[in-house]
């Protein structure tokens, strides 16, 4: 693209606008400044109640941002408690599910004939809506324990686990089998054993795919945890609190929980990005 610009503009002085646009410093700064401007406009519209007029609503259903902030500060302990319960479910489900998914992908890559069909069936699980799964596992876990909070947690975790396992299984299988052209031939020339091929070629090749699976399943695990809280027996978690507060018509408290849920999602994603930059260093 650079060459094209030079060819076109030869023999003519650039306009100020173009010179600014092509300045590398501005290019770097603009990726921060432009979103910031948009954010400030958005906050301004919200606080100035322009959004309310747009959606034909009032500050009761859509409270102002400073009100949400002050409620969050007031209810810190309750918020933390519910955040912990949601995080526990989504993290446990994510970890167990991802490990299971990866193991399934490993099995499928060892026995491709039967594995592919198995993965197709598991992929079908991923397209089952969460609302259909959550009540089933609620019923199944009724007898696990007498403690309602414990058995609710288990059933929520299983739902998250299934979603994450399907996602990880499909992606990791791609990573284990989508090798670069001739990579297998090269390994054959080196007369490497199956074990060597696996550890030196397939395993490293699957790592970027693992992260692309996690990029989907980290937000999905939080979303799934929140939805399955709606159906759970024991009333806990950020998602359930959103609903309970809406039923009580306490919209500003519900918004405080929504904001918390967003913060959880953003933090989880940020941590994932940091991990990715550490693990994928050698791939760049």
């Amino acid at each position: 693209m650079e060459d094209k610009v030079v060819l076109k503009k030869m023999g003519r002085r650039k306009k100020l606008r173009e010179r600014i646009r092509e300045n590398p410093k501005w290019q770097k700064a603009s990726t921060v400044i432009l979103p910031l401007i948009f954010g400030i406009i958005l906050v301004g519209l919200w606080q100035g109640q322009v959004l309310h007029r747009l959606f034909h609503t009032d500050t009761f259903t859509l409270p102002l941002l400073d009100k949400i902030g002050s409620i969050m500060a007031d209810n810190k302990e309750k918020l933390l408690e519910n955040t912990f319960s949601t995080l526990q479910v989504s993290l446990m489900g994510l970890v167990i599910g991802s490990i299971l998914g990866y193991l399934m992908a490993l099995l499928a890559s060892f026995f491709p004939k039967f594995g592919q069909g198995g993965l197709a069936v598991i992929g079908a699980f991923a397209s089952i809506p969460v609302v259909a799964m959550a009540p089933v596992f609620n019923n199944w876990t009724k007898d696990i324990s007498r403690d309602a909070s414990f058995r609710s947690m288990i059933s929520k975790t299983i739902v998250v686990m299934l979603i994450c396992a399907a996602d990880m299984g499909l992606n990791a299988y791609k990573g284990l089998t989508n090798l670069k052209p001739y990579a297998l031939d090269l390994m054959a020339i080196y007369a490497s054993s199956r074990k060597k091929i696996f550890f030196k070629l397939r395993l490293p090749n699957s790592i970027p795919y693992v992260f692309s699976a996690l990029k989907v399943s980290v937000p999905a695990s939080i979303m799934t945890a929140i939805v399955s809280e709606y159906f759970a027996e024991y009333i806990t978690g950020v998602g359930r609190q959103i609903r309970e507060n809406i039923v009580l018509a306490q919209y500003s408290t519900a918004w405080a929980y929504i904001a918390t849920a967003c913060l959880i999602g953003i933090f989880a994603y940020a941590i994932l990005m940091i991990l990715q930059s550490i693990f994928l260093k050698r791939y760049h």
Binding site: S30, T61, A120, I128, V131, P135, P219, V227, I258, C262
Partner: protein, 270 residues
């Protein structure tokens, strides 16, 4: 004979069928175990034939409707709106990604927010949207649209960005106009990504529209679901809904796959 057996074993569909059969067998065995140990087995794990029988029995569960009639009528209410939202969100998502690609300013301004919106649990917003719009049908459409919008938008944008520099260079050599570059290079390149986005969005849209039903007792699949869970009607209605929505989710992603092969000729190459 042996060769024939081996041939069947090599077919792609065979292993899928094998796994499905295995799952069914596991289900039935556990159903037998549950039936012998639990007090109310149909709450936990009924036999599959019981569910199928419930689907075809003419017994009235709510008013004049039999179980499958009730499920299908309320599914019509719920899923049509969900589907409308899904289409709407898909189209808006695609246009949005296209605009972000075409305008540098817009792209840079909105990109971080597109990433952020993924992390907002939109389903958590469902009750709020219901109270803002006030009408359950409108909020079904809105939520399904929001949920379908962002996977489609992000994936399509990735698709636009995945086009290599060499292709732009080639189009420059051909003296292609801007709209031709979009038409011949960028949009076809983004198509597979667009369909990935749709496939992610479809089950979420179904989930969303069912979930919105449970918030207000106004008919619809979700409402039926919570009623049958509370034993207001036969528990088999619940199992029918579970299987039905799972079926819908799977079928939709299969249909999207078919549409994908229909509109992308390069996928049909053997």
């Amino acid at each position: 004979m042996r060769e024939k057996m081996l041939n069947i074993g090599n077919k792609k569909w065979f292993s899928a069928v094998f796994w499905i059969l295995l799952l069914l067998i596991i289900w039935e065995i556990s159903a037998i175990v549950v039936a012998n140990t639990k007090r109310i087995p149909e709450n936990i794990l009924p036999h599959l034939y019981q569910i199928i029988m419930a689907a075809f029995s003419g017994e009235k569960v709510s008013g004049e409707l039999s179980a499958s009639q009730a499920v299908l009528t309320s599914a019509g209410q719920t899923l049509l709106r969900g589907f409308l939202g899904f289409i709407l969100g898909g189209v808006i998502g695609f246009v949005f990604a296209l605009l972000m690609k075409m305008s540098n300013l817009l792209g840079k301004m909105l990109f971080p927010y597109l990433m952020l919106i993924q992390l907002i649990p939109v389903l958590g917003l469902a009750p709020i949207i219901l109270s803002i719009t006030g009408d359950i049908n409108v909020s079904r459409v809105v939520i399904a649209a929001i949920l379908s919008f962002y996977p489609v938008a992000t994936n399509t944008l990735y698709g636009f960005k995945s086009v290599e520099k060499e292709k732009y260079d080639l189009m420059y050599i051909y003296a292609a106009k801007k709209h031709e570059i979009y038409q011949k290079v960028l949009i076809p390149a983004a198509m597979p990504y667009f369909f990935i986005g749709l496939k992610i969005a479809a089950p979420m849209a179904v989930t969303a529209s069912i979930l919105v039903d449970t918030l207000q007792g106004d008919g619809g699949l979700g409402c039926l679901l919570s009623q049958s869970l509370k034993h207001a009607m036969s528990i088999y209605t619940f199992w029918l809904i579970v299987f039905f929505s799972a079926f819908i989710g799977i079928i939709i992603s299969k249909i999207i796959g078919l549409i994908e092969t229909a509109v992308s000729p390069w996928k049909r190459r053997p």
